[in-house]
């Protein structure tokens, strides 16, 4: 026994040390000499652009992908300390505001970048969101991210009698009408949405307000409160497939019928529609759908909304700002690259010089030849930009939780809201919360 143990321990030792040495030499070799540019992001969507950039400039770029839930917690200390920091990093809308003001991104309004001159080349709200509190540009984005409802044409034809986006959009132009459609879907065994969370964007769209206003007061609008009731109605009437956003069954439901267990029965149901913005098409639907390609279309919901969006900028302590900005430039201002990017992915650009030339004859096979570009550009003009705050990510999580409590019957609406206020105040003692 003793001998066996010692042989085992020694071999573990050797393997461990060897592993350590080899990984050390590799990272230090890679980190310092071979890589010219380090980029951090929370999705893999930059993979292809980076390849293009590497080929064009003959440089080596390293992309680090951190899942979005951990992204701010991981990135903050890196930027703060500068240890192992990237040269370029992206920011998602949920924490964008916090970061543009934190000063991690280089001021692009100064020389040699002079980004202010670009202002009229972008969809206004996108450009404005990249500015800090002093009005200096810190980050740029190539996309605009208004949303819609993606639905299956075949189901629409069967249940609603038409698959035309305009007509289907008309049938869903208010929450009441959405429920009418949902009822028809249920009658034929379909699920209107994958789960209740799908409708959250519409209820704030009627009266878009920031979570925290400039007096530092938390604002829970009536519309947002109504969202609770809508969610509960969806759940109680069994209009959904109980597949939470981003869960494996949520993805599975795009292509195939999924099983739902409810009320002591198991049934199989197909999901009619997914509420997703522009990027949902190329980074969610297209990557997961195999069989129903061409059977999809996109239309508008009860109210316009936007969801997400990726901004990027140069880290202010980067050693290689020139190359870093070159990459930012390619992603946001390069006519040739952006044209091919949008044609390939269907991503809707915020860079007007390119969108002007491509929007008219755009058509996407995945959407049965629909011109989604024109549709989303129209939607993007309806967006109110001033509603983004630095609290959004955490407050969205907390409120989502409160809604969940109500939907599953754990709490009354009043209790759930009260608890949301308490939790918000607990997380951010400096914001003022209604005392109810």
């Amino acid at each position: 026994m003793k001998r066996k143990l010692s042989i085992f321990l020694v071999s573990i030792l050797l393997v461990g040390l060897f592993a350590g040495c080899s990984s050390d030499s590799k990272t230090s070799g890679n980190g310092k000499k071979d890589v010219d540019l380090r980029i951090w992001s929370f999705t893999d969507e930059l993979k292809k652009p980076i390849k293009t950039f590497e080929e064009k400039n003959g440089v080596k770029v390293e992309l680090t992908i951190v899942p979005i839930a951990d992204y701010p917690t991981k990135l903050k200390p890196v930027l703060e300390s500068g240890v192992g920091a990237p040269d370029v990093f992206t920011g998602e809308i949920a924490f964008l505001k916090q970061w543009v003001d934190a000063g991690y991104w280089e001021n692009l309004s100064e020389k040699p970048y002079n980004a202010d001159k670009l202002s009229d080349k972008y969809v206004p709200y996108v450009f404005d969101l990249g500015k800090d509190k002093d009005g200096d540009v810190r980050a740029l984005s190539w996309q605009t991210t208004p949303g819609g409802i993606y639905y299956k044409r075949s189901i629409a034809k069967e249940v609603l009698g038409t698959d035309d986006p305009t007509q289907v959009g008309e049938m869903m132009s208010s929450m009441d009408k959405v429920f009418e459609v949902a009822d028809k879907m249920k009658a034929k065994g379909y699920s209107m949405f994958p789960d209740e969370g799908a409708i959250r964007w519409f209820t704030q769209g009627d009266n878009p307000q920031p979570w925290v206003n400039d007096k530092n007061e938390l604002q829970l609008t009536d519309e947002k409160m109504e969202y609770m009731d809508y969610s509960k109605k969806l759940r109680n009437n069994q209009y959904t497939a109980l597949a939470p956003e981003w869960s494996p069954s949520w993805f599975e439901g795009m292509d195939k019928p999924i099983k739902v267990k409810e009320g002591g029965k198991e049934k199989e149901t197909q999901v009619f529609s997914y509420v997703l913005p522009t990027w949902g098409l190329h980074s969610v639907l297209k990557t997961n759908v195999k069989e129903s390609v061409g059977d999809w279309a996109v239309t508008s919901g009860p109210s316009p909304y936007f969801w997400g969006g990726t901004w990027l900028g140069v880290y202010n302590k980067s050693d290689n700002k020139e190359l870093a900005y070159k990459f930012v430039k390619m992603m946001t201002q390069d006519d040739e690259f952006l044209t091919s990017w949008s044609k390939e992915t269907g991503d809707v650009l915020s860079y007007l010089p390119v969108t002007e030339t491509i929007k008219d004859d755009f058509s996407d096979k995945f959407l049965g030849g629909q011109n989604n570009y024109q549709f989303f550009l129209d939607q993007s003009t309806k967006i109110t930009p001033g509603i983004v705050t630095k609290y959004d990510q955490q407050l969205d999580t907390l409120y989502g939780n409160a809604v969940q409590q109500y939907v599953t019957g754990k709490k009354s609406k009043k209790e759930a809201i009260k608890e949301f206020y308490q939790k918000a105040h607990n997380a951010y003692p400096d914001i003022k919360v209604p005392k109810k």
Partner: protein, 299 residues
């Protein structure tokens, strides 16, 4: 001789160097931060006792305190119960069971797995609609409707307790067995002669003689239990839902510091946790030393 004793300092110097820098200094620094409104960047401003005042009235910390106790308590009762029953069975001279080594290993196995893997594994096994556990139970006809394990406060806490039990009862069993094997056979033989039944033998001989061991398990388990973090963090969305039922003290500390950037307050939470641990450890220690004098002997 004096010269030689000086070497003592050389021997303990590396330890103290590292200990001072990496253990004592951080603890002291945390203490300092607990009087400030430090947010992780920029300057820390002294705010006096504000953080501690907030701590005393913080319903979420109280909630976290009770959650931690509930989860740990249920787990500890189950874990010790199982360990004792097993020890009773295996130590019973009248049955003489075989295969103790095998069962010991199997029961201990879950304890070796990285707790984050355990959390992840149970996270998907316990999934409401598509988790394998619900599917299995439905197939076997035990339940007709899937149970949303991690969405109901009670069942979520119970799930965590059971997972902890699953992970730890084997460990406790081994420790208890070690204690049992240290008890002299004479006691049991005398009991046999006196005609004591199983339960009497167990409650009158085994349990009292095992007390130091049981207290050892209790202390280590309590200190570990009060620091419960990984499971709730990874089983839920990280904020301890449903309904805050999985919000434990360390999870609360982590969220205050690294999610909401309230470092100063989180430092006060840490000291709150420390005081609580201290109080309960003191109680148990008192129990241990107070009782030990009355015991015949147990090394």
């Amino acid at each position: 001789m004096k010269n030689i004793n000086r070497y003592g300092y050389f021997f303990i110097a590396p330890f103290w160097l590292v200990f001072l820098v990496f253990s004592i200094y951080p603890v002291a620094l945390t203490f300092y931060y607990s009087f400030t409104n430090y947010t992780g960047s920029g300057e820390a401003q002294l705010v006096g006792l504000a953080n501690y005042k907030r701590l005393l009235t913080d319903t979420y910390f109280v909630e976290a305190f009770f959650n931690t106790w509930k989860i740990w308590g249920v787990n500890f009762a189950l874990q010790m119960g199982l360990a004792l029953i097993l020890a009773m069975i295996f130590s019973d001279m009248r049955i003489k069971l075989k295969g103790i080594a095998f069962f010991r290993s199997i029961f201990y196995l879950p304890n070796l797995i990285t707790i984050s893997s355990v959390a992840l594994l149970f996270g998907i096994l316990l999934d409401w609609q598509h988790g394998s556990l619900n599917m299995m139970l439905m197939k076997l006809g035990i339940i007709s409707d899937p149970i949303n394990w991690l969405n109901e406060p009670t069942s979520a806490q119970l799930s965590v307790s059971l997972i902890l039990t699953w992970m730890w009862f084997g460990h406790s069993f081994i420790v208890v067995m070690a204690g049992v094997s240290g008890i002299s056979k004479d006691y049991y033989e005398a009991a046999l002669i006196d005609g004591a039944n199983r339960w009497q033998t167990f409650s009158k001989i085994t349990i009292p003689l095992l007390k130091p061991i049981l207290l050892y398990i209790m202390i280590t388990s309590l200190i570990g239990g009060l620091q419960l973090f990984d499971l709730p963090m990874l089983l839920t969305d990280g904020i301890g839902s449903p309904d805050g039922s999985l919000n434990t003290m360390v999870l609360y500390l982590y969220n205050q510091a690294f999610k909401y950037n309230n470092y100063g307050y989180a430092a006060a939470v840490a000291y709150g946790l420390f005081v609580i641990t201290l109080i309960f450890s003191a109680f148990i220690f008192k129990g241990m030393y107070g009782k030990e004098r009355k015991q015949p002997r147990q090394v």
